[in-house]
């Protein structure tokens, strides 16, 4: 029962199927309807479900995100689309001060079953205001669940349980994944707790998520040509982190590199590194490495954008450094 489709199609199918299955589910956001979705994920939904359930909003990120939170409290199951994480800066008050805290502040009386989807990441030459990877900002906040599906299967299969979650879920879709093809089995279930081992290996653990996963797998394949067997962990769930999975892997391989498109300082990669330090320090054979974005607003020209982001050669170099195959990491 599996099909070969793009990440974009899988994301759209997930929304379609969720709306077909539950009348409480609806989607709202800028241009989700008549335009067909900025990244064409929601194309066709307006025709199927009508403008009440495929609700175009004005440019009012704080307003409609808050309205989604309120609608969730009122018994609906809203999917709020914030076009991109860059614009979510305008909605953070609602997400952090309301969605993430209402259950706690009310002593458990109210809960916020909203799903907030947003595109994230760079690679399309959209420059400094359209290329953020702020996953760690969200992963920092208690009360939120944060997902970063990297595969066609995950972007499809994570939505239904996200909508069943009684608490707010942030779902990141990396812009460079939309055109990526993969295999989808609509009946397969995924949980929202576990990281996934995308490749087994014994020599080193490479930990990544979202758009960087594929670069990491590419690096692993190239390392394998040199006889280095890297295990690749896809975090998938950025909050709460599935530490068991990455820690077990590092216990086995004794070496790790984290690949994360966030700016290096203050990144989620730092958190993973710190947890490895805390839990498996005595079993490490080398310091844990990080491959992150350079500390610069993302520049427009392709060669500079590429230089700013984590790339395969840097991942390979970091892995080799951790394996002591060459000097210190650059």
């Amino acid at each position: 029962m599996s099909e070969e489709i793009t990440y974009r199609e899988a994301a759209g199918a997930a929304i379609h199927d969720a709306m077909a299955a539950d009348p409480r589910v609806f989607i709202m956001g800028e241009d989700v309807g008549h335009y067909g979705g900025t990244y064409a994920v929601t194309k066709g939904l307006l025709e199927t479900f009508g403008p009440e359930r495929v609700r175009d909003t004005p440019l009012s990120e704080s307003g409609f995100t808050g309205a989604g939170i309120g609608a969730a409290m009122g018994g609906m199951r809203p999917i709020v689309e914030i076009m991109t994480v860059n614009f979510s800066l305008l909605a953070l008050d609602q997400i952090v001060n309301n969605a993430a805290t209402l259950r706690h502040m009310s002593g458990g009386q109210f809960n916020v079953p909203v799903v907030i989807r947003m595109a994230t990441g760079a690679g399309r030459q959209l420059a400094a205001q359209h290329s953020h990877s702020l996953e760690n900002w969200y992963a920092h906040v208690p009360g939120l669940r944060v997902l970063a599906p990297a595969t066609v299967q995950d972007v499809y299969s994570m939505l239904a349980p996200a909508l069943e979650d009684p608490d707010p879920v942030i779902l990141f879709e990396h812009v460079m994944l939309y055109n990526r093809k993969g295999t989808l089995d609509r009946s397969a279930a995924v949980d929202l707790r576990s990281a996934a081992i995308r490749r087994e290996g014994r020599d080193i653990t490479l930990i990544s998520y979202g758009g960087s996963l594929w670069k990491t797998l590419e690096a692993a394949a190239l390392l394998a040509e040199d006889g280095i067997e890297a295990e690749v962990v896809d975090l998938r769930v950025l909050r709460p982190l599935d530490a068991d999975t990455f820690l077990s892997s590092v216990r086995k391989t004794r070496r790790a590199v984290i690949v994360d498109e966030g700016w290096r300082t203050g990144s989620l990669a730092a958190e993973i590194s710190a947890q490895i330090m805390e839990e498996v320090f005595w079993e490490l054979d080398a310091p844990v490495g990080r491959v992150c974005s350079a500390e610069v607003p993302i520049p427009y020209p392709r060669h500079l954008e590429e230089a700013a982001l984590p790339q395969v050669p840097a991942i390979i170099a970091a892995a080799r450094a951790a394996l002591g195959k060459q000097g210190e990491p650059a």
Partner: protein, 331 residues
């Protein structure tokens, strides 16, 4: 609450109804005074924003609502909570931060919630409740329920972007929201004319095509009548309504405020026209209530407050082991 309130948009000023209105206002006033005292005793901590002087608004508006309507308010929401019918015991225990408080003690004075009364909080972010109100109303609309969501906020909130976005969304989508602006002419220490180029707040509704009205928020009869009309319009499905109630805060913004920004005389002048003194004087003059009735109200209220304090004092603290409770359903 009084009978037949959804039918009649004009409440009848029966003896029972007048008694009810006055009692509710006095309940809030005395409760707030008690809280101020408890604050100096360090029983209540954090910020504490008293509603003293503004009681006519919460009481007048709440009377126009049904049990399954939703209510959102600010950090100055103890008055609204009481007017909405939350048990004073639970509200007081919440002020203390005790386990039996309306939010289990975790919220404190700025975060009083009650799911049963559809009291959707206390919100300490100025303007932060407005988008939530839009969403609650949207849920009602999409689910075919004829409920009204009422959102209280100060005139200071009108400058926030979230106000603008919420006003537009509510009108654009014809949602059943009653926006109640409690215009007390100060946002902390900032006088209205220092924060708004257009100081006639309700006039702003026009630029969203939202019907609106400004009333004397010190006159409970006027507030209630306007609220009933407004609620009727909203419930009829005609979209949101904006009700500005002009009022005045008799006390400091919070317990930290030295009130450098206004004179004592200004406050005194306003106090003379306070909602309780005015209504009480009127019902006495008109012979609707007598001094004995008022004494009875005061005695009732004093008893209720004593009981609430005793309840809060007796309530337990939450166990420290529960620290991580209520972060999410799945621990």
């Amino acid at each position: 609450m009084t009978a037949g309130k959804t039918e009649a948009t004009h409440p009848r000023l029966t003896r029972a109804h007048c008694q009810h209105l006055l009692q509710q206002m006095i309940r809030i006033r005395r409760f707030e005074e008690k809280c101020a005292e408890l604050y100096t005793q360090e029983k209540i901590r954090g910020f504490l924003h008293l509603y003293i002087g503004e009681e006519a608004i919460a009481v007048g508006v709440m009377d126009a609502l049904e049990a399954d309507d939703a209510v959102l308010a600010t950090y100055r929401e103890h008055g609204h909570a009481l007017a909405r019918g939350l048990p004073m015991n639970k509200v007081m225990a919440e002020m203390y931060g005790k386990r039996d408080g309306s939010s289990g003690g975790r919220g404190g004075s700025m975060h009083i919630f009650d799911a049963e009364k559809r009291f959707v909080g206390g919100n300490a972010i100025v303007g932060g409740g407005l988008p939530l109100a839009v969403g609650l109303a949207l849920a009602d609309r999409m689910q075919g329920r004829e409920r009204v969501t009422t959102c209280f906020f100060g005139e200071g909130a009108a400058a926030e972007g979230e106000f603008h976005e919420s006003m537009n969304l509510a009108t654009l989508w014809k949602l059943p929201v009653l926006f109640v602006c409690e215009n007390n002419f100060y946002a902390m220490g900032t006088r209205l004319d220092l924060s708004e180029s257009e100081t006639d707040i309700h006039a702003k509704a026009a630029s969203y095509r939202m019907p609106s009205e400004a009333v004397d928020g010190m006159n409970i009869v006027e507030v209630e009548a306007a609220a009933r009309r407004a609620v009727a319009t909203v419930r009829a499905g005609d979209g949101p309504y904006f009700l500005e109630c002009r009022t005045y805060r008799f006390r400091a913004h919070s317990m930290f405020d030295p009130q450098l920004y206004r004179s004592k005389d200004e406050v005194k002048e306003r106090e003379k026209k306070g909602p309780i003194v005015r209504f009480q004087g009127w019902v006495l003059d008109a012979g609707i209530l007598h001094q004995a009735d008022i004494d009875a109200i005061e005695a009732d209220v004093a008893q209720e407050i004593d009981a609430a304090v005793a309840f809060a004092e007796a309530s337990e603290w939450e166990a420290i082991e529960t620290l991580l409770d209520h972060v999410g359903a799945v621990p």
